[in-house]
């Protein structure tokens, strides 16, 4: 799976203002509403579900990256967005480091395979340190988009 298969390009965010876990999640979910990928009426329910998942264990997987996510019946296909916080946010990460790079995923409850393949793509690309570093330094949504496209181009299609 490629980034372009699930990342909504109109929702990319290169300068997250929130400095709390819930704030970042809310900001990202709102940008998916603004991009028309999730319904405004479902925003609260989705934010709550993502926070509930975080309570089970942080999705801050290390290297300054977090993958907040949830299943939600209001979406019919996997949708995702990417955001960068230049200041970094305390996400109770596994390695204790603040998080600057966020991949938020909302998937239909009956498609666990798509969710796994999105996680696989994200984690595989993040093994490339320069990709990680460049994304964290993105100054505009277009910067993020170019980096994701580049990663898609070089990655193995699966």
């Amino acid at each position: 799976m490629k980034f372009s298969d699930f990342v909504a390009v109109d929702s990319l965010h290169s300068n997250v203002e929130a400095d709390t876990k819930e704030g970042v999640i809310r900001e990202m979910a709102q940008s998916l509403v603004d991009a028309g990928k999730i319904a405004a009426s479902e925003l609260e329910s989705i934010v709550k579900a993502i926070m509930k998942r975080e309570d089970l264990g942080s999705t801050g997987i290390g290297r300054g990256v977090a993958v907040p996510h949830t299943k939600h019946p209001s979406v019919h296909r996997l949708v995702g967005t990417v955001a960068v916080s230049h200041g970094g946010v305390n996400f109770e990460s596994l390695d204790g480091e603040p998080v600057q790079l966020f991949f938020l995923l909302v998937s239909p409850p009956d498609r666990p395979g798509d969710h796994l393949r999105a996680l696989e793509n994200i984690s595989r690309q993040l093994r490339d340190e320069s990709f990680c570093k460049l994304l964290k330094a993105a100054k505009s949504p277009a910067d993020i988009q170019h980096l994701l496209e580049e990663a898609d181009g070089h990655g193995v299609v699966s």
Binding site: G57, T59, H69, P112, L116, L119, S123, R127
Partner: protein, 104 residues
């Protein structure tokens, strides 16, 4: 003067086959639990899938397996505590990482 003999380091390799029993597959939470457990042991721990071999101590590596429900994997440990490590990790799979097996 007291002399000590350094015990020889046993570099045993132990492996076992496991099956991903969770409905949601080996997603972020179980991958995190697995990597945490693996890091408790001194042995090198790898997960072997059909087409790749990854470091069990890295959540990023474990997630690249994208192992769905029903996937067979081999847990392989090499080092002084290989047996205990494989038993501990095999146990996580046996208990389905304390997740329910049917979707709820």
């Amino acid at each position: 003067m007291e002399l000590y003999r350094k015990p020889a380091m046993i570099q045993e390799t132990i492996s076992c086959e496991v099956v991903v029993g969770m409905q949601q597959g080996l997603h972020a939470r179980p991958a995190d639990l697995l990597a945490r457990e693996a890091r408790k042991w001194r042995s090198r721990i790898e997960l072997v899938a059909k087409s790749q071999r990854v470091d069990g101590k890295s959540i990023l590596e474990v997630l690249t397996l994208a192992a769905e429900a029903g996937t067979r994997l081999v847990v392989e440990a090499t080092g002084p505590d290989a047996r205990e490590a494989v038993e501990a990790i095999g146990g996580l799979f046996e208990r389905n990482f304390n997740e329910q097996t049917s979707d709820g």
